[in-house]
Amino acid sequence: MKFSILIYGSPHNSQAVHTAYRYTKAALAAGHEVHRVFFYGESVLSGSFLNAPQRDEQNIMQLWHELALHHDLDLVICIAAALKRGVLDPTEAKRHEKPAHNIEAPFQLSGLGQLTEAILLSDRLVTFGG
């Protein structure tokens, strides 16, 4: 079966991003396809490589990063939600004349159209809110 995941809660202020991670891992382990993970609202902060949690605390960026590499996951961060929250890739940093960026592959910025497409092409859309 083909799933897509929509995450809406802050990685720092809700369990949403971690629960979605466990869900995605379980779906993949059961042999299902995860078409896309779409980060919207505060969840766009999940992708920042500047996040520096303590060594004994979870690094949610790292967890998603590793899962994506193992399973060729499509991790899309909503570009409009990301820009206002200071989450930039090199292209957007340049476009907005910012001196730095804080996300990189496998996370990628794209528009809300990627969510619409995911809704249409997936058997199930599962949302994890804040």
């Binding site: 949403a16 629960t19 891992k25 379980a26 059961a30 199930r124 949302t127």
Partner: protein, 98 residues
């Protein structure tokens, strides 16, 4: 056609519980996740829902985190992450209440 509903807030968020409850139809399933599992500490919240022919589950990892144990006769079942996937498939869609 049935729906899996997930709910992630404690019953103190009474407007969320109210909104979710009025959307449930007989044959649907409710899965309590995150702080939603606090709804299992007192059977009265779930008893009403179960009486309306809704199956109620609570996510194991979130129960354990919070030290909540289910009373044997509450009618609420424990769900693993794998069960969460299975319930998502057995129902026709998933609605998330947060």
């Amino acid at each position: 056609m049935s729906t899996l509903h997930t709910l992630n807030k404690a019953p103190s968020n009474s407007s969320l519980w109210h909104d979710c409850q009025r959307a449930l139809q007989a044959g649907d399933t409710l899965l309590l996740i995150e702080n939603g599992v606090y709804g299992c500490a007192d059977d009265t919240f779930t008893a009403q829902i179960i009486a309306a022919d809704i199956k109620v589950y609570a996510l194991r990892a979130d129960l354990a985190a919070r030290g909540i144990t289910l009373s044997g006769d509450s009618g609420v079942a424990v769900a693993s992450d794998d069960d969460f996937i299975r319930l998502s498939i057995e129902n026709n869609k998933v609605i998330s209440w947060f």
